[in-house]
Symmetry: none
Subunit: 231 residues, 2 copies
């Protein structure tokens, strides 16, 4: 569950909701949002049902009371933290292991989570950004965190390897290409043997997709036909 | 390098720039941004120098000309794609292996990348979102991609063995090849535009080693010269 605390910009609420919808997190709670118009957040394309069912809470305590793990997010590198600080990668692994309800807290755009907010957290999590510019846009931070949480949940789908041209196709290509090179005087006939080896290697290195090999062969045949017309 | 194509909302450009600064990616190019006021993008807290040095390009071709790997992003699940589609996780691994310049393309908020844009890409990458709501906010998509790219950065970086042809080389090849196809009457001049996109994709799929690209270009020039002699 995502908990947005004291968010000032309705666009950011909309963006957070959109990312939640993208990655399949349906439950949103907002604590003391700055602008009461947050439900109209325009950037939430396709996320409206999620926003309509979002709950507004008066305090962080109320927002996390039914959760058994409460994780705060922070951009802090060197702030004096009273909590264990984990990278997103480490934290996400722990969150995924948790079988009961987890609250992921995001603070306001300007100040992040207050010390009072943090006191409700079990530990804190940080997206590994550059030291010189650590503070992320709220909507982007939510998207990155939810991406990491779902990242390992699907078994990595193997893409089908492209089927490569057969040796027979490669060899046909090599032969037609050699004929074209001779017809166009790129190679003189007497140097043709050494060139042929070089050309064959070059054609092999193309590692042509099988589906493309016939097209290339067709192209070569046509060029060759045209070249030989002029003899 | 991040390339934003036909972005309509300056807030999204600002958000992309902010994520780039957060994760340490300094180079931004924008292709035909919808709103000329993009430089004022307000949400780019602390990202101003990155936006000031961003380059505006007239076309995708110009924006990726000095890149040797061009990766498009898409929300498509089932669109008929002419390109290999990788998950962010798999794609990021390949991008990290690449020793030369990589362009990561993001399309417009409404339509994503066009087929013409995609024809400049070697392959496509998808953030694994829910099927029912796959389309992400642009700034959030940029943030998630850059997070994944830096996520494992502490792991030793492997250097790719073969250096691939630059986009400039591939494009030169595509152009000479098109000329040869027209000279040999493989394509009639009036069908040349649709063929060109197909041919560009085919040349990209070759993933030519850089050292071979000049040889192939030399071959094409010679064939072309010969074809044009007979006119």
């Amino acid at each position: 569950m995502v908990v947005l605390v004291s968010t000032r910009n309705p666009l950011n609420i909309g963006a957070a909701a959109r990312a939640m919808s993208n990655f399949g997190f349906p439950r949103l709670r907002v604590v003391k949002p700055y602008d009461a118009a947050w439900r109209e957040a325009r950037s939430a394309v396709g996320a409206s049902s999620l926003l309509t069912s979002a709950e507004e809470c008066a305090s962080v305590a109320a927002a996390v009371e039914d959760c058994s793990l409460v994780v705060g997010t922070t951009a802090a590198h060197n702030r004096e933290l009273q909590h264990p600080l984990r990278t997103l990668n480490e934290g996400a692994r722990l969150i995924r292991k948790c079988s009961s309800r987890v609250a992921l807290l995001f603070g306001s755009e300007k100040r992040g989570l207050s010390n009072e907010d943090l006191s409700h957290c079990h530990w804190l999590m940080r997206i590994p950004t550059r030291e010189e510019h650590g503070s992320m846009n709220l909507g982007q931070a939510v998207a990155v965190c939810l991406y990491e949480l779902t990242r390992a949940s699907r078994a990595p789908r193997r893409i089908e390897k492209t089927k490569r041209a057969t040796t027979k196709q490669s060899e046909a290509l090599t032969q037609r290409l050699m004929e074209a090179l001779i017809a166009s005087e790129y190679v003189k006939r007497n140097a043709a043997v050494s060139t042929e080896t070089k050309i064959r290697r070059m054609v092999r290195r193309l590692e042509l997709p099988e589906a493309d090999a016939d097209t290339w062969l067709g192209i070569l045949r046509q060029v060759l036909w045209k070249l030989e017309q002029q003899r």
